[in-house]
């Protein structure tokens, strides 16, 4: 036969309760019996709140009581209305089941493999190779601006859904696009050379 749970004589210290009471500037003198009564009322209140929150926890088939369960309990019971501000920032519960009682920020993180350097395609991007090929400094500056906007594109993606935590999506590799030179071209040497060939020479150099 299991042993009965030990009955504690929980008693909050009246001096501490009086200190808390007197943080309210409107409160003047307090009779000696008042903190003692409030101490007992506090025990009854906590017992009541915990019992009702426990019912919510058990109705969700969960084994651990969370702030979400407390929030639901506070919103269901009219007598706990004064605690609504306390749980205003707590996220609402999602669907049923025990797995849903994590507090939101501890879900499985989805994203890149470690060591991918924060780039979508992993390793070096295609554009970093192109920098060596590009002829002029201004072209490199243009590219660096492009990579900045690349970062913005990454952040502006919608947040990943928690339903498929292990999926890794790879965007297709971006095709190589040659950049037009922004500097004025040097005067063409006299001769029957086509302008297309000049451009190609620029990139080769």
């Amino acid at each position: 036969m299991p042993s009965k749970k030990k009955k504690y004589n929980a008693r909050f210290p009246p001096a501490r309760i009086k200190k808390i009471m007197q943080t309210d500037e409107e409160i003047g003198k307090v009779a000696a019996a008042v903190p003692v009564i409030i101490s007992r009322a506090l025990e009854l209140f906590l017992e009541s709140l915990l019992k009702k929150a426990c019912q919510v926890t058990q109705s969700r088939n969960a084994k651990t009581m969370t702030t979400s369960h407390l929030k639901q309990c506070i919103e269901l019971e009219q007598q706990f209305d004064f605690l609504k501000d306390l749980v205003a920032s707590v996220p609402d519960m999602q669907g049923d089941g025990e797995d849903n009682h994590m507090d939101g920020d501890k879900g499985a993180r989805r994203g890149r493999k470690p060591g991918s350097g924060g780039r979508k395609n992993g390793g070096m991007g295609t554009k970093s190779k192109d920098k060596k090929l590009s002829g002029t400094d201004s072209e490199q500056e243009d590219e660096s601006e492009d990579t900045d906007t690349d970062g913005e594109e990454e952040t502006s993606q919608p947040p990943p859904q928690a339903s498929h935590p292990s999926a890794h999506f790879q965007s297709p590799p971006t095709p190589f696009l040659p950049f037009a030179s922004t500097l004025p071209l040097p005067p063409a040497p006299p001769g029957p050379s086509a302008p297309d060939e000049e451009d190609e020479e620029d990139y080769d150099s």
Binding site: I20, G28, K29, V30, V34, V36, I38, A41, T67
Partner: protein, 147 residues
């Protein structure tokens, strides 16, 4: 002395004890929920105090008393607390009365003791005086004999 912020929290040990008592064996509680319960307790104290203060102000009194707290509980829709709180108040008053009587008894005993000590002292002094008088008389007699 400036108050520290942790002085305005209720003791974690007592809150943990109440949680342990209220929850059934299979159910645990997260750290965040435990912290929320502690804050809820402090909010309850302030809310009850504020309601009780309203009743004191209605009665044009500057001191909060037990009846204000009981009225506040009814206003807060915790009517079921009133009976156990009245019992707690009676128990507290009995305890205080017992302490008062004990201290009065102690005081009486102390007074009795000091009285008896004073009587003993005065008796001793009387005896000393008698002895001195006898010695003086003996000396006088001896002097007369010498003469």
């Amino acid at each position: 002395m400036a108050e520290r912020p942790e002085d305005l929290n209720l003791p974690n040990a007592v809150i943990t004890r109440i949680i342990k008592e209220a929850l059934p064996d299979g159910v645990n509680i997260s750290k965040e929920a435990r912290s929320a319960i502690s804050r809820a307790a402090s909010v309850f104290v302030l809310y009850a105090t504020s309601c009780a203060n309203n009743f004191a102000m209605k009665g044009k009194r500057k001191t909060l008393n037990a009846s204000d707290v009981l009225s506040a509980m009814e206003e807060m829709e915790f009517q079921r607390f009133v009976t156990p709180l009245k019992e707690a108040l009676e128990a507290y008053r009995r305890e205080q009365k017992g302490k008062k009587e004990a201290s009065e008894q102690k005081k009486k005993d102390k007074d009795k003791k000091t009285d008896s000590e004073e009587q003993d002292k005065s008796r001793d002094e009387d005896n000393d005086e008698d002895e001195e008088r006898l010695e003086e008389e003996e000396q006088n007699e001896e002097e007369e004999v010498d003469n």
